[in-house]
């Protein structure tokens, strides 16, 4: 991720536009990207500042390139690099050694006179001789541990120019979010992934259903309800790649401007950002996948929608695997328990109990039931594959109940 100092944003009509390299307008950046990658790939052993200087030089005559963009490129390249950091403190030891030797000759003057006879170059020569190393080498090593002077050890790199550039675009989006206060998402799918990553980023959500399989989610942190804070900016930035990997969403973040106003950063899955996270798996298990394929889009008046609704109470959420929506209106949710442990089963049952006012059908492996247990109506069991017939029967039971 970038630092705030590398962030480039433009404010226009209360909208925030993070710097973005476009496929056409910035076509020539592909070549730049390739050159930058090769500077690092061929730069093993070079100092950080030398590498940065070479990158800077590439853009010398490029009209369209702010300094911050160059800094950001360097940061992204450094993120994939390993530098020699002198953990044993060799440079520090060398400094103490050299400065202690030189101390008795202080001040080192540029020209000898009656009072002062220790000429800079003579003393340096003398110390070099004592240490049995050429002075140039000593001088280079003196501050070798300072960030700018560290030498490149390894460069992992990016898969290519195009990945590097799309990483840049995502990184600028993330950096713009450092100053975000809340994030509002309108989503029509991939709810599980969105909510899971929001929770991983330690964000709180507020969920509102705005239509069938349509939700508005506001993300922020505990403090946000009390006053404006930037505390959760990093969380939004961490969360973003997960959102970019999803489909069917639109987002608007509230961002504080430098002059203390508010602006919005608006984004959707149509904006062409590619996440470095993989797209969410369509199905959690093979049982689910097989069932969905066999059921098809619709059967006996029931439409099948994957992850179609969110059940929520305060910060507890539950996104059942499927929603069956009947053409006459009724809706039944189904959760398939694939792998199971007694604890997981108990946890799931607790969730179902919490949302007992909703129609939830639980599909569980037969092996998880004790033989003498009386099967509840809202449970279907399966051995290897979930039978369509038993599900449709259970759905009808729900329908009768509702009707």
């Amino acid at each position: 991720m970038l630092t705030s100092e590398q962030s480039i944003v433009e404010f226009k009509a209360a909208q925030v536009y993070p710097d973005k390299l476009k496929r056409n307008a910035h076509r020539h950046y592909f070549e730049f990207a390739e050159q930058m990658l090769s500077i690092y790939a061929n730069g093993i052993g070079q100092q950080r500042r030398q590498l940065h200087k070479q990158v800077e030089k590439l853009f010398q005559d490029e009209a369209d390139c702010p300094i911050r963009r160059i800094d950001a490129f360097c940061k992204l390249l450094d993120d994939k690099s390993v530098y020699y950091t002198d953990p044993d403190g060799n440079a520090a030891r060398l400094r103490l050694q050299v400065f202690s030797k030189a101390a008795q000759f202080h001040p080192l003057v540029s020209q000898r006179d009656q009072l002062f006879e220790h000429v800079e170059n003579d003393i340096k020569h003398k110390i070099a001789k004592e240490l049995e190393r050429p002075w140039d080498e000593i001088e280079q090593g003196l501050y070798a541990d300072v960030m700018e002077y560290q030498r490149l050890k390894e460069f992992e790199g990016y898969s290519g120019a195009s990945e590097f550039l799309s990483r840049y675009n995502v990184a600028q989006l993330q950096a713009a979010l450092y100053k975000a206060q809340t994030m509002r998402i309108w989503a029509s799918g991939d709810f599980k992934t969105i909510l899971r990553y929001a929770k991983l980023a330690r964000l709180l959500h507020e969920i509102k259903r705005i239509g069938p399989s349509q939700y508005e989610m506001v993300l922020s942190g505990p403090l946000s309800v009390l006053h404006e804070t930037r505390r959760y900016g990093i969380s939004f930035a961490r969360f973003l790649p997960a959102l970019l990997a999803c489909k069917g969403w639109r987002m608007s973040a509230t961002i504080k401007t430098p002059w203390n106003g508010t602006a919005r950063l608006s984004l959707s899955d149509k904006d062409g950002f590619s996440s470095y996270l993989p797209q969410p798996d369509e199905f959690d298990s093979s049982v689910e996948e097989a069932f969905a394929k066999e059921f098809g889009g619709e059967r006996d008046g029931w439409q099948l929608i994957r992850e179609g609704e969110i059940l929520h109470e305060n910060q507890t959420t539950f996104v059942p695997d499927f929603v069956f929506r009947h053409k006459d209106g009724p809706e039944v949710l189904m959760e398939i328990i694939g792998f199971w442990t007694p604890e997981y089963l108990a946890h799931r049952r607790e969730t179902v109990r919490r949302f007992r006012d909703c129609n939830i059908l639980l599909a569980i492996p037969e092996s998880s039931l004790k033989s003498d247990v009386v099967k509840a109506k809202d449970i279907v069991t399966y051995k290897k594959a979930l039978a369509i017939k038993s599900v449709v029967e259970a759905l009808c039971e729900f329908k009768i109940k509702v009707d």
Partner: protein, 468 residues
Amino acid sequence: MDFEGKNEQIILKWDEGTLLLDGWPRDNTPYNMGIWRWDSRVGNWRCDAIYYQRIKEKLSQTANFRDEVMQPASVHWPKVDLPTLRPEQSEALDSWTQSGRRGQVIMPTGTGKTEVALAVMAETKTATLVVAPVRDLMYQWHRKILKGLGYDAGIVGDNTFNIRPVTVTTYDSAYIHISRIGAGFGLLVFDEEHHLPGRCRREAAILSTASMRLGLTATPERSDGLHKDLDFLIGPVVYNMPFRRAKGSTLADFDVIRIPVALNDEEQQVYSQCSRIIREYIVSQREEKPGYNWQELCKETGKDPKARHAQKAYHLKTSIESRAGEKLRVLEDIFRLHNGQPTLVFVGSNAMAIEVSKRFLAPTILSHTGKKERLAVLDGFARGLFKVLVANQVLDEGVDVPEAKIGVVIGGQGSTRQAKQRLGRILRKNGGSQATLYEVVCENTKEVHRSRSRRRSDAYERTIHRRV
């Protein structure tokens, strides 16, 4: 009274820097205190942790109230070995205690603020978080707590997260971690408290439940005016010792000598060329856009290579000023003049510090200098092995430096606070001899303006200005 009534139990809980009141009905704001907000996301009332004490006083009157917020541990000091406080220090301690143990103590640099804080800690014997501006100061607090109270404090910062009942940290780390660690401290000590009221850093005070708070500074005022918020974040000013009272008593008298240097021909040529580039660009822009200024120029650097060129020219000018070759020659003269006297050199950038260090083979203290090396360098300077110590801004505030009577400022910015802090460094009273501060600035450049603004501070009153 129904002590058993489970449904009516009111529970106060800590939640990441805020307090949640569980079990209080939504339709009535707790005690009509405006600090509460209903948080529909969790179904509870919520407020900032800073109000903990006030809330608790109200709630303890409720029979079915339970407090689940972590309480500060009491601390036993293994070995208290503190110097007897001077009269003004005792005065400060007393008025802090009498003001409900919340408030700010304002004392000039070098008059022993740290000793006041250690005396406070010795007395309060409660879990304490000490917040300092930079790593060096954090480690210095760690050493002083160990020496004065015999306690090995925890450290949060500098890639370390070791939390103990008494912990030292920096403002930046405190901001980041306070939502995790804000409960469990009874006392907060804010060293150089003028760092606290920034938009983000203030959260270190707001997200903590500590009831006792002590702020220390020589220079509370901030140019953005936010220092007025310190009353809320820490408490009122309980003691204010004017700078004049310190001067000549605890602090030594001092001279300020400004040495203007000229750029050499080559530097001057580049400098003038840069100035011309900037001027011409701005003039050309103003023909179309009257009132065109530097901010607008900076905005256009991404689109217009000429604007970028002008911006680069500006940075080059600054770099020429701060690293003018003549400054190294003047430095040599000062070293000759004060041969044998410990001398501190303050520079504006890491690059310049390293340049001075390589030229004179003198040790440096930079922001990244490790703990061990820093100790070795400071110790060598104190023992007289090293006659010169080069430092960047790191030493600007509060870091105790062994005795030095000669200070040289090369580069740096013109804020009042920095000038006071830098003076404070070399003005600690050590014997009767006169201290001298040299300012080496480029002539006919904007550095001269910075030097003038530096002298506007009241720290420079009654000082001697000489040209060498």
